[in-house]
Amino acid sequence: MIKSIKKYLTIYYMFVRSCLMKEMERRGNFILMSITTSFLNLYFLFYYLVLAERLDNNFLGWGKNELLFFLGTEILCHSAFMATCFYNVFTLPDHVRTGSFDFLLIKPVNTRFLLSTRNFNFSTFSQVLFGIALTSYSYWKLGFKFSLPKLLLFIILILNSVMIMYLIGFTLMCLAFYFTRISSYGSVLPYRGFFAIYWFARRPENIFSSQVIQILTYVCPVLLIVNLPCKWMIRTTSPITIIWAFIFSIIFFLLSQVLWKKGLQKYESASS
């Protein structure tokens, strides 16, 4: 058991190392990507600043700094997802199309693990720094004091959020198995579906009516992604919601595993 864990950790480390080496080879592109993705965040920053100003610093009860903290949390979740999962989660149709999926299947290592961890993107990882800076700044501006346990749970909640985002994307991507024609739109579909769902997580939950908030927290719990960690730090949350967040991830993971296995069976019966 321990040996197995060690093996998988070694494989993950080798993937991360290889990706770093690969990106260092193309330094120019790496720097360009890091800069351009920063700009994306700047536009959202302007958006929130303009809104805050125009609404007299009162966006549905959230002041400017609270909005900034929210944005920072969103950037942390988003960039962590982009760095670790994004370039893996949506690559299945490409693997199937080019035939490299066969190579993943034939290795004596869990195929889902290989597929989900193969790529690690360092240029989007630099956004994490931006997110940390923004959250730290606005947290300090709001007058909160540093608290280690609070911070730890915040980090754990963000990791959980990344897991939920991974599971959403992965589940959508499994649908690629069911479209026997992996056309170019077959590969765009999960990606678009993911962002359609993610849009509901990207804004402070106050924009929804209270019934919708309940639905989006407990039934289709996208609000667990950004709003929960944010509220944990600068507002209040109920412990039930936090526990639900973790339970949901586990249930979702098991469901996605079932979908994956079924999808593999379909692949095996109808390949090429």
Partner: protein, 323 residues
């Protein structure tokens, strides 16, 4: 039996739609499903250490068959057993003993050196470090690529890349090596090197080699045994000479006369004649051997006379033509 395939059938469901704009609009709502039989009742068995080649036209079912052997797809009917495992179960122990090389697809990391891919393979297949180093050095030396291991894969030529593919597949000492068109797109020298390597590797290590190829020289050089698949059916399983014997009633005679005599009246039994190297190459019906030879001898003083069976290429062409 090392590998046993019994009555295997593989059917595919495909969607068909009509042509043209009207068909596309119709296709939005309904699609007809057709069943295509890619592999039709194939049975064969392979012993450990054999070198077996699959030949057949494109779409005949060769790649489907070897994919079923490696466990990537499972048969619709019939059973496959590879050293007591069912490939479709895809057990870890099974996967560690087989290896798949595909001619036009690469499993190496493109931007990094080949060594990185080898090292990853070491971890994936639990190869002990000492064995890994030993095997890597040996394989690299045999294939003459020791200096290239540290270079990025994208800077290697196709032939060099294929050698790296072979190394990465053999590092963990599999019992079966499956190759799907390994020499496709390679220059003549590389093709020769790869063939020589496969032959020698098989003889030294007793690794079973299963290969598909369109280059008949691959099959002739490397494989002792041929499986000819046509339209999903196995139409021949045997040695090269057996297939020639079975499918061709012709023999080949090359004759060159001292005084450049032309053959004007074709003797009975000659199916075709064409000029070659200042002489003539005749294809004759084997039953008319005596008749033809006698006639040729009577025509004049012979400078050179060559008698032999048909080439494999000719036989294969004939079969593709519609036998």
């Amino acid at each position: 039996m090392h590998i046993q395939v019994e009555n295997v059938v593989k059917d595919y469901k495909i969607n068909s739609k009509e042509q043209g704009l009207k068909g596309s609009v119709k296709g939005l709502f309904t699609r007809e499903k057709k069943i295509v039989r890619a592999v039709d009742n194939i049975s064969f068995s392979i012993e450990e250490g054999e070198c077996v080649g699959f030949i057949g036209e494109n779409g005949a079912g060769k790649t489907t068959t070897i994919k079923m052997l490696s466990g990537l797809i499972y048969p619709s009917q019939g059973s496959i057993e590879v050293f007591n495992y069912k490939p479709a179960d895809r057990k870890k122990e099974f996967k560690k003993q087989i290896s798949l090389v595909m001619g036009n697809k690469s499993q190496l990391w493109w931007d990094l050196s080949a060594f990185e891919s080898f090292d990853l393979q070491r971890v994936l297949y639990d190869i002990p470090k000492a064995d890994f180093k030993k095997r890597l050095d040996r394989l690299a030396e045999t294939l003459n690529v020791t200096a290239l291991i540290e270079k990025p894969v994208r800077s290697l030529s196709l032939g060099e890349r294929m050698k790296m593919e072979l190394i990465v597949s053999l590092l963990y000492n599999p019992r079966v090596l499956i190759l799907d068109e390994p020499t496709i797109g390679l220059d003549l020298n590389s093709q020769k090197n790869i063939r020589k390597f496969l032959r020698e590797f098989n003889q030294e290590n007793k690794t079973t080699v299963i290969m598909t190829s369109h280059y008949l020289e691959d099959i002739e050089t490397v494989c002792d045994r041929l499986l000819f698949i046509q339209k999903g059916k196995l139409i021949h399983d045997g040695t090269k000479d057996e297939i020639i014997e079975r499918f061709s009633q012709d023999a080949r005679i090359y004759v060159r006369y001292k005084n450049n005599i032309a053959i004007t009246d074709l003797p009975k039994g000659v199916t075709s004649i064409k000029p070659k190297d200042e002489g003539f190459e005749l294809h004759i019906n084997k039953e008319e051997y005596n008749n033809v030879i006698r006639t040729l001898l009577n025509l004049g003083d012979i400078d050179k006379l060559d008698i032999g069976g048909m080439s494999l290429e000719h036989v294969v062409e004939k079969i593709y033509g519609g036998e």
